[in-house]
């Protein structure tokens, strides 16, 4: 490939020295019934540079990606590729313009091999018109080698990790020789090391002169990976510039119009008596000998690498899976939890990581979701009282600052952050004692994040006990009173908030130091 194309901006580069745009959007407008998704946005992508697209959920980022990939057509505005105006009538047109998107859940095929996934639809052919398998494997191997990806082309996709799937998606983008690569939250499910690998791959793509649009909620990554930024708010572009000239605070203010310290509104907690006491909880395969106590008003952070058994522990506490040994006590009374219904009765509720699958009933309206776990409270003799139901739903919608067109809107049509608010609202309406939050702000924007965090603090302040699973260190450090670290299904440490650093937690989670406890 053309490794000679050196456009990596030297430190003395003037804006005028930037290469001409590969892709230019001017005044893009897109309306959906009842929603103004995009209201005149501009965007410029230049070859050899990574442009970060920053914005809250619902700011219009996904709509823009769909326009760029030919899924939606804009109502107004101009798209120029390489200086020429284009219009995409179908995803095929976008692909012909050499634009590829790697989505949060890229459409790949589990049962096909890596090479088949990379070359699906444009496989190399023999002279007789059959698929040239050996050429396909050789080219796939070369592509993956070029990405420094240790993946065999004939592995079935279902055997790969999420990070490896991303690499396959990137390889697919390269195989059709895309000039413009859109990465829509590629790091949402990746560990630190995997993000490092991805950053290296992106560096390579830059070296090849690709123009890259990078969407992420994690500022740390944006500063490392992106050269330029564009900020969207409420369907408009509200700012653009060079990443190294923008401070974190400026970007956040552009995004939400509020400052950073509002993202982690930690209120000093006064801890009360124990609410949840877990002792010696074991699972046949996922975790072993977990014991901890959760007190009124406390936020206990649960940190660990993906696969450390954190979600499995939460699901066992919630009765979704059955532990093999150990006891759970709520307010001093031992409880037998065999199903989620038992857990809810005992006052334990669980906000799952997979909102769409386990958390919300996406096809049902907001109000029906909010009251789903407390139907007894809005009904008499089994009959639902509509007025009370709406009153309760409205109460939590307003308390959580829900952004919806109406309470009868299906939850599936809300943005991720607002879906999460509905799920949290559902559980608060059930009047819990212990709230388990599994990655509560994964993949949601700063505005919603701040709302979820503020709410978490408020709950703890009202005497609820909160168990918060998170892979985001700033969130753990910012919100938790104590942090429990899990590694390979075992407890690797329990730390007090005071003086706790990210390094300590990472070391405990990866096993680089001996497990330490705050209790001598």
């Amino acid at each position: 490939m053309s490794g000679a194309l050196q456009i990596n901006h030297p430190s003395d580069a003037e804006p005028a020295a930037l290469p001409p745009p590969r892709l230019e959007l001017r005044g893009i407008v897109k309306h959906f019934p009842g929603v103004r998704a995009l209201d005149g946005v501009d965007l410029v992508l230049r070859p050899g540079r990574v442009t970060a697209l920053i914005g809250e959920n619902g700011a219009g980022k996904s709509t823009l990606v769909k326009i760029l990939t030919g899924i939606h057509r804009p109502d107004a505005g101009e798209i120029r590729v390489g200086g020429r105006p284009v219009s995409f009538a179908s995803p095929q047109d976008a692909q012909d313009a050499r634009i590829t998107a790697i989505h949060q859940e890229t459409a790949l095929f589990d049962e096909l091999t890596v090479a088949e996934n990379i070359y699906l639809g444009h496989a190399p052919k023999t002279r007789l018109g059959f698929v040239d398998w050996s050429a396909m494997r050789a080219r796939a191997t070369a592509l993956l080698y070029g990405l420094d990806a240790p993946i065999r082309p004939w592995t079935r996709l279902r055997d790969l990790s999420i990070a490896q799937r991303h690499l396959v998606a990137i390889a697919r983008a390269l195989s059709i020789d895309s000039e413009i690569v859109i990465m829509d939250e590629p790091t949402a499910a990746l560990s630190h090391k995997e993000v490092d690998d991805l950053a290296r791959v992106i560096e390579r793509l830059k070296g090849q002169g690709k123009a890259i649009l990078f969407i992420s909620h994690k500022f740390e990554e944006l500063y490392r990976i992106a050269d330029d930024y564009t900020v969207f708010r409420d369907g408009r572009s509200v700012g653009a510039g060079r990443m190294d000239e923008a401070t974190h605070d400026e970007l956040v203010r552009l995004m939400v119009g509020r400052s950073v310290d509002q993202v982690f509104p930690k209120v000093p907690a006064t801890l009360g008596e124990p609410v949840l006491e877990v002792s010696g909880l074991c699972h046949p395969t996922e975790f072993d000998a977990i014991s901890f106590t959760l007190r009124r008003g406390e936020i206990l952070g649960l940190y660990g690498l993906v696969g450390a058994g954190r979600s499995e522990l939460c699901q066992a506490l919630f009765g979704a899976t059955t532990p093999s040994a150990g006891t759970i006590a709520v307010e001093g009374r031992r409880v037998a939890i065999r199903s989620p219904a038992d857990a809810v009765r005992a006052g334990i509720v669980y906000v799952p990581e997979e909102r769409g699958r386990h958390g919300a009933v996406l096809a049902m309206p907001v109000f029906e979701n909010v009251t789903l776990a407390c139907l007894g409270a809005v009904s008499r003799h089994g009959f639902i009282r509509s007025a009370e139901e709406f009153r309760l739903a409205r109460h939590y919608a307003e308390r959580l600052d829900l952004r919806a067109a109406s309470l009868a809107q299906p939850v599936g049509t809300l943005s991720g952050g607002n879906q999460q608010k509905v799920v949290i609202g559902k559980w608060l309406a059930a009047g819990p004692k212990v709230v388990i939050l599994d990655e509560p702000t994964k993949g949601i924007d700063i505005g919603s994040k701040a709302a979820v965090h503020a709410f978490m603090s408020e709950l703890a302040g009202q005497g609820l006990a909160v168990l918060m699973v998170s892979s985001e260190l700033p969130e753990i450090l910012g919100m938790a009173d104590r942090v429990m670290v899990m590694r390979e299904g075992r407890m690797a440490g329990l730390f007090e908030r005071a003086g706790l650093t990210a390094e300590t937690l990472v070391a405990a989670a990866t096993g680089n130091i001996q497990a330490r406890s705050d209790q001598p």
Partner: protein, 335 residues
């Protein structure tokens, strides 16, 4: 600015009023369709508007419609029950044997309802406790139940029913209002209330939409599913009492193929076959539509084969029409 917006925001309960909501409903289309068929029939045949003829017409679909009311809940919950005709065969056989053994009318009714409920319970246990997919479990029990009926009767007929037993399938409650049809109307109102107004109905719809999330919301998903299959069996038992009483005899081939008619009513009524959405008024209207068409064509002496062609075409037409209309509208909206 942004903060001001968020504090002052008021979320309306609904965007559409009651009239706006009903205008875009499937049930409105069904209502229009049944009205059209009614008028067409009234114009085509002078005998159609006779009150006793109309009353007779209801017997053709009432028993199936009663099962459809229960099956609608099962389908709404994302499951299916194809065993209802087998259940009828087995329950009717049991009633016939009981009648031969000299049991009276109340005992016969109890046997019919009891065997129906037991068949439903077996389905429910297979599906919720053993975790079989409902379509496979009930195809299995469909053959099983009817097979047992054949085993007991062979080519024989049971017809030792007491005279008083005939009332359930042939009796009238008031004027031309038959017991069967009155029973259907009461059950339809009850089913509508349960599905649309109660906690139970809400739970059924949540399960059909997303059984995972329903379970994770603390709903007793398996118990509710079990109850639904039990109720469907019970409804099939009630239909058995009516049908057996109307025919006055039991053969093992009784109600053969009914499961498809019942599923047709449910699906034409707008209940999503994937679960999660649908209404009882829709199912009731669908039953009327099918009943009126069959009756009207019968009055015009249309042969059975043509009748089945007409019903098939109508079924496809009513389902395809809104889809086509939606496409045309979408195409027009595009510049």
């Amino acid at each position: 600015m942004a903060l001001q917006q968020t504090t002052a925001r008021v979320i309306p309960d609904r965007l559409l009023g009651p009239i706006g909501r009903s205008a875009i409903r499937w049930e409105t289309l069904l209502l229009a369709l049944s009205a059209a068929i009614f008028f067409a029939n009234a114009l085509a045949s002078p005998y159609f508007l006779d009150i006793w003829n109309l009353s007779d017409a209801t017997f053709n679909f009432t028993e199936k419609a009663i099962i459809a009311l229960a099956l609608a809940f099962v389908v709404m919950a994302g499951e299916i029950d194809l065993s209802v005709s087998g259940t009828i065969a087995l329950a009717s056989t049991a009633m016939g044997e009981a009648a031969s053994a000299g049991f009276g009318t109340p005992a016969l009714v109890a046997v019919g309802l009891g065997v129906g409920a037991a068949c439903g319970l077996v389905n429910g246990v297979l599906i919720t406790r053993l975790g079989l997919p409902s379509i496979m479990a009930t195809i299995g029990t469909m053959s099983l139940y009817r097979g047992l009926s054949y085993l007991a009767l062979g080519d024989g007929v049971l017809k030792d029913y007491p005279a008083s037993f005939g009332w359930f399938g042939q009796g009238y409650v008031w004027q031309a209002l038959s017991f069967e049809f009155a029973c259907f109307l009461v059950l339809a109102a009850l089913a509508g209330l349960v599905l649309h107004r109660t906690v139970f109905g809400r739970a059924v719809r949540a399960i059909g939409n997303n059984a995972f999330a329903a379970r994770f919301s603390g709903l007793a998903v398996d118990r509710i599913r079990l109850i639904l299959f039990l109720l469907t069996g019970l409804a099939a038992g009630l239909a058995t009492v009516m049908l057996t009483s109307r025919l006055g005899s039991t053969r093992p081939s009784i109600a053969l193929g009914w499961e498809l008619d019942v599923v047709t009513i449910v699906v034409l009524g707008g209940v999503s076959i994937q679960g999660g959405s649908g209404t009882i008024p829709g199912v009731v209207l669908a039953a009327f539509v099918l009943g009126l068409v069959t009756y009207g064509l019968g009055l015009l002496n249309v042969p059975g084969i043509i009748m089945s062609i007409v019903i098939g075409a109508m079924l496809i037409g009513t389902i395809a029409l809104p889809i086509l209309a939606g496409r045309i509208l979408a195409a027009r909206r595009r510049p």
